[in-house]
């Protein structure tokens, strides 16, 4: 792994809600082109970190650097436009819109026509709308959702909803994709399939991925680098093997080793 400028860097990140530190002095790096994992027991602060990275929460202490530049005081939509997109633990699709419209809406950044051009239907509008439609269609095709594109998002089965959320996140041409428990509620087959998709997406779109997951087979299977959280603090950080064998991690997840009789 080259130690070039990390794509994402958290420096001494702390987030306090009142008296409670949900995230406490966490630091780690995500290298370009990697798939990194963020794991830890429930309540460890993983989604809070995602919310901090994407600007939903304001940082109490510390910095977040994306491509070397601080983003922690930027507006959430600017961070998304800058190349960091995400999916949510509880799926947040545009439920009353069709599958196509969910992605089509998110493609808005690939067009630049302004309000005036919209209202008066100037040439730019027509030209760029075509580009948007094509982009949405191709994204859906790549992700295997093309023949579902007319269905209402909330009529999709669970697994496809998760896939749609990822597709939507890809519409902004991100450089860093944050996936919050993408395999939640999936059986082993679906999880396997998801792993393949994540790997392909990374290759095809030349991006980096940071995944929060509880499914250990997914994490161990695809992550180059893992960061373990517990009670908002860093517990371990390293490759999959080193983390799996770290006694502190084993203890946090499985409890201390029992005395065998």
């Amino acid at each position: 792994m080259n130690e070039a400028l990390p794509l994402l860097e958290l420096e001494g990140l702390t987030k306090r809600f009142g008296g409670l530190a949900a995230v406490n002095n966490v630091s780690f790096k995500v290298q370009e082109g990697s798939i990194s994992g963020l794991i830890g027991p429930n309540g460890a602060g993983k989604t809070t970190i995602f919310n901090l990275i994407t600007g939903v929460y304001k940082v109490t202490e510390g910095r977040i650097l994306f491509q070397g530049k601080p983003i922690h005081d930027q507006e959430p939509y600017k961070i998304a436009c800058g190349g960091v997109t995400r999916t949510f633990q509880n799926i947040r699709l545009f439920k009353n819109l069709s599958v196509f419209d969910n992605v089509y809406t998110a493609c808005h950044r690939s067009a630049h026509y302004n309000l005036f051009e919209s209202v008066f239907r100037l040439p730019n509008y027509w030209k760029e709308e075509k580009i948007l439609k094509e982009k949405a269609r191709s994204l859906l095709a790549i992700m295997g959702l093309e023949d579902r594109q007319d269905i209402n998002a909330n009529n999709l089965p669970y697994g496809l909803q998760r896939r749609l959320e990822i597709t939507r996140a890809l519409a902004l041409d991100p450089k860093l994709l944050l996936l919050d428990e993408p395999a939640a509620g999936m059986n082993p087959d679906e999880t396997e399939h998801l792993m393949k998709i994540i790997g392909e997406v990374r290759r095809m779109f030349n991006l980096s991925v940071l995944v929060i997951e509880h499914h250990m087979d997914l994490i161990m299977g695809i992550c180059n680098h893992i960061h373990v959280l517990n009670f908002g603090c860093t517990l371990a950080d390293g490759t999959a093997e080193s983390v799996a064998n770290d006694p502190k991690v084993v203890e946090a997840y499985l409890g201390a080793e029992e005395e065998t009789k």
Partner: protein
């Protein structure tokens, strides 16, 4: 100085009414994180309940208050069960609740217009207790209307009872817990449904008393539901979701209004409420006592 004291006294009277309305509104807001925009209609119905209890049904004065309290409480709970709960159950967006509240208040207000009629009703003085009839009390240059005294007393008693209830009874603590975190309290064995009903009932009941007091001070008419705007402004002024904030905001709002009314002009009194709202939004949207909190995603 005398003018000043006089305005102070006037302000306390209307402030008491605002306080009852604002606390009722804030109570529901603190639990449900939602504004009951039909609050005004509950206030208005309370006034009518009290009025008819006193006049058509010949009940004693204090009983009329209880009728207003329980009548409004019942209306508020009905509103919750029939209009809001179905939306809550299917996790409808925030917008749907406001629209439904609007529909409910249109329904209630116009039902009253269509049945009882739009002409304002005045509380007949001869049906009021003896000490409320008669000339205002005088202390030097200060003139205090008897009804104003009654308003202040009733409000203080009601709010004191509320505070005692919330701080010292088991149910009250359950309400506090649910306001803090509904899911956690549910896990602790507190039935959120029951707390919701209780809170709507109390909020509605306080609104009803406010309605009767307002009706006594001025008149009872269907469009008085618009007064609820003052309670919203008072609540925002003091800090949305905070009961002490609602109290403080109401008193301050009423005092400012009264001083403007006394020293400047009565015409612009209501306009000042809006200006106070704007000022708060510019300077400190969380209100005087509000916490500058972030929403959890």
């Amino acid at each position: 100085m005398d003018q000043f004291l006089q305005q102070l006294v006037n302000g306390l009277s209307i402030g008491s009414i605002y306080a009852l309305m604002a606390v009722g509104y804030s109570l529901v807001y603190s639990i449900m994180n939602f504004s009951n925009f039909a609050h005004g209609s509950v206030i208005m119905l309370g006034a009518y309940f009290g009025f008819f209890a006193l006049t058509s049904f010949g009940m004693p004065f204090t009983v009329a208050f209880f009728v207003a309290f329980f009548g409004s409480a019942a209306v508020a709970v009905l509103l919750e069960r029939l209009a809001y709960k179905p939306l809550r159950d299917r996790r409808a967006p925030f917008l749907y609740f406001i629209i439904t509240a609007m529909g409910a208040s249109i329904f209630i207000d116009n039902s009253v217009i269509a049945t009882i009629g739009p002409t304002p009703k005045t509380f007949p003085t001869d049906l009021l207790p003896a000490f409320l009839q008669g000339d205002p009390l005088e202390w030097g240059a200060l003139s205090v209307g008897r009804i104003d005294i009654a308003i202040f007393v009733v409000a203080v008693i009601s709010l004191a009872l509320l505070i005692l209830f919330i701080d010292f009874t088991k149910l009250g603590k359950a309400i506090q817990a649910t306001a803090y975190n509904m899911k956690a309290s549910a896990l602790m064995g507190i039935n959120p449904n029951f707390v919701i009903i209780l809170v709507f009932a109390i909020g509605g009941g306080l609104a009803g008393i406010a309605g009767v007091l307002y009706g006594m001070k001025y008149q009872v008419f269907p469009q008085m539901s618009a007064i609820t705007l003052k309670s919203f402004i008072a609540a925002v002024f003091g800090g949305l979701g905070s009961l002490q904030g609602a109290l403080l905001g109401s008193l301050l709002l009423a005092l400012i209004e009264t001083f403007v009314s006394g020293y400047l002009s009565t015409q612009y009194r209501d306009l000042f409420a809006f200006l106070i709202l704007i000022a708060m939004l510019v300077v400190r949207p969380s209100g005087i006592m509000g916490k500058v909190a972030e929403d959890k995603a």
